[in-house]
């Protein structure tokens, strides 16, 4: 889960890492009010979960409160990454003497957190590759013992860090690691961390990603999730913990596991290309799908606006196929969909499941025995309804 910059700065402040003074606003008048409170030049930053910082576009400087109000008005009527801007972070402008890059990422191959720092901060990190050892000082952290003080000192030494700010820098690294651990972060990046003209260290911008599977024990972070950009179906998928992707084709697919989701797309592409049949959506109920997840998945594909044919392929290990067939029939009777749907259930209890589905005698529910039979049947039906 990605966080907005203002949310990340709230967490940094909680972790005793200094950030510029300011507040997040959603009206031009509030921008004026905050600019008055801060005094002096302010920076206005349009908040977005995806885009990088683009000075002059989503980040502007205002010299007066009235100027801040004008900038805010223009930003709030703008779009970023095709989405309306709803929130702006208004902050006191820092006088930057030196920009530093410092981040903790999770190195999945090594299975350890990796601390990276560079004196070339402020650049777009997409142009810097973290395995370029020329730019970065790096230190792996043992997740059991945590970050040692000497490791922070080593990073400062590698960077040839100014002695007058040495101690503050080492403390910030220590707090950054605490922030990474306590918030179940996947990644936390400060870019830039600046040394101000006055000699203070300040985290001016950054990014933070949270492990979605830890949100059950992170109520503060769970509450930060912004659902305002989600479609109804996306929100439904999130609440029922299934993965949902929407496309523009005709076939609504329900499968279990990311590998199977890709295979279904491969096969539809291969066999459906000639007749212009494509997926409308792919719902992945998880590698081990429960009856509840299957029911939720079926509701999602039936609710998708462009679905003309449903395709359910579940090969589950955890739950017997006949239990899943029961969940499908229960949901079917509740929704009474008119969309023709091919269902293939495999695994333990598959024969019983096929028998149950056939015995239900539903005209638009077609039982298939193999994956390729299911694919061909769904494509044939979509082609027919298409023509």
């Amino acid at each position: 889960m990605r966080l907005y910059e203002y949310q990340m700065k709230f967490l940094l402040r909680q972790a005793h890492i200094p950030v510029p003074e300011g507040d997040v606003i959603s009206t031009p008048d509030d921008a004026y009010r905050i600019a008055v409170e801060l005094g002096g030049d302010v920076v206005l930053k349009a908040q977005s979960l995806n885009s990088s910082r683009l000075p002059g576009i989503n980040m502007k400087i205002a010299h007066t409160p009235a100027g801040a109000r004008d900038v805010a008005r223009r930003m709030l009527s703008d779009q970023l990454e095709n989405q309306p801007v709803r929130q702006i972070l208004v902050e006191a402008k820092a006088h930057i003497q030196q920009a530093i890059y410092v981040t903790i990422i999770t190195d999945y191959t090594a299975g350890r957190p990796l601390l990276l720092a560079s004196l070339e901060g402020g650049k777009d990190p997409h142009t810097m590759t973290w395995d370029n050892s020329d730019i970065f000082s790096r230190e792996y952290i043992n997740p059991v013992t945590g970050l040692h003080l000497y490791q922070a000192n080593k990073i400062a030494s590698d960077l040839d860090f100014p002695h007058s700010q040495w101690r503050s820098f080492v403390e910030i690294i220590h707090h950054l690691y605490q922030c990474y651990v306590h918030n179940d972060a996947e990644k936390i990046e400060i870019n830039p961390l600046v040394i101000t003209r006055e000699g203070y260290l300040l985290a001016v911008d950054g990014k933070m990603h949270i492990d979605p599977h830890a949100l059950y024990r992170q109520p503060q972070l769970a509450a930060m999730y912004d659902s305002s950009y989600e479609t109804t179906l996306q929100a439904q998928a999130r609440h029922t913990e299934v993965a949902y992707q929407s496309f523009e084709g005709q076939i609504g697919c329900l499968v279990n596991g990311a590998g199977m989701a890709l295979t279904i797309r491969d096969m539809l592409h291969h066999y459906g290309e000639e007749t212009s049949v494509h997926p409308a959506c792919i719902v992945d109920a998880g590698s081990s799908a429960s009856p509840e997840e299957i029911a939720a998945g079926l509701r999602l594909i039936m609710a998708h606006p462009s679905v003309q044919v449903g395709l359910v392929n579940i090969f589950d290990g955890l739950v017997e196929a006949d239990l899943l067939a029961g969940a499908i029939l229960h949901t079917w009777h509740e929704l009474k969909p008119t969309i023709p749907t091919v269902i293939r259930l495999q695994g333990s209890g598959a024969e019983e499941a096929q028998h149950m589905l056939a015995a239900a005698d539903i005209p638009n529910l077609i039982v298939a025995k193999t994956l390729s039979a299911a694919i061909h049947q769904a494509i044939a039906m979509a082609t027919r309804s298409y023509a």
């Binding site: 596991g257 590998g259 890709l262 491969d266 081990s288 955890l318 695994g347």
Partner: protein, 280 residues
């Protein structure tokens, strides 16, 4: 002797009384798996499917001599269950739990690496040695005994491919699901190494979901430098358009190319694997 397990392996089930525990315990027992007991804290002294339940792994080991543990407990408690098994001296831990928090797994993997312990998973469907034993949730009907070893990071594709091979009369020596999580125990290379040294395995199938996590170069360099047994791969996602899903498309393409470059035939669909196996 197959890899990781044999017919004498004595299995403990941590979370034996959980939601799906009874069905899978019954199914494994039916297959001939030697389940010696289960662990559910606070339920020690109970019996489940005719097997004794213990409060702790240590007590269960003392009473039964178990050396392998299957972990089915819910995600918030799963990392603790793995560490408990490791501290008690279990040598092979198989974890099927999904969605364990990242930081829990970072600490757990670090602790396990200092001991000589094998972890399969988490989010693994388990291990099945056809005709011998099954530890996990792989539907036993997909498999039959033979000499093809299968290692997969995708559960559904493991079942689908194995079923297709069985129908093509190509039996298997072992099925291992390593899970698709970011932080796992044994990886592709670890399992390939076991297959390479296994007398019952002649050919190997590697099934890999495109993932940013595992190091494909470690796998390809092991295959090309060390392996004598032929390997065939199944990589899903190769037909996906770069515009629709750039990340998945890129990973699938680069993975397929890395394997093709070292002479490993790469299938796109589960049903194509048996033909490729005939050619190696």
């Amino acid at each position: 002797m197959a890899i990781l397990l044999d017919k004498h392996s004595q299995i403990l089930i941590q979370g034996i009384t959980e939601r799906y525990g009874s069905f899978h315990t019954r199914q494994m027992l039916e297959y001939g798996t030697v389940i010696v007991g289960g662990v559910t804290p606070g339920k020690g002294g109970d019996w489940f499917e005719g097997k004794p339940v213990f409060d702790t792994v240590r007590r269960a080991m003392d009473a039964t001599g178990a050396t392998v543990s299957l972990i089915t407990v819910p995600a918030p408690l799963a990392a603790d269950a793995i560490i408990e098994a490791a501290d008690a001296g279990i040598k092979l831990i198989i974890c099927i739990t999904e969605h364990i928090p990242l930081h829990d797994m970072l600490r757990t993997r670090e602790l396990l690496q200092r001991k000589n312990i094998r972890l399969v998973g988490p989010n693994s469907p388990g291990i099945l040695i056809p005709g011998v034993t099954s530890v996990g949730i792989i539907p036993p009907m997909v498999a039959k005994p033979g000499n093809i070893g299968i290692v997969s990071s995708s559960s559904a594709l493991l079942y689908e491919t194995t079923l297709a091979l069985t129908q093509a009369n190509m039996g298997q020596s072992a099925l291992v699901g390593i899970g698709s999580n970011a932080i796992i125990g044994m990886n592709f290379k670890d399992i390939l190494e076991l297959f390479e040294n296994d007398l019952n395995t002649e050919k190997i199938v590697l099934i890999s979901e495109p993932s940013q996590y595992d190091a494909i170069h470690e796998v390809t360099s092991y295959i090309s430098n060390r392996m004598t047994r032929p390997v065939v791969a199944l990589i899903p996602g190769q037909s996906i358009s770069l515009i629709e899903s750039p990340t998945e498309a890129k990973y699938a393409a680069s993975r397929a190319a890395a394997l093709t470059n070292i002479g490993v035939p790469v299938a796109r669909y589960p049903e194509d694997v048996s033909e490729l196996l005939k050619g190696v």
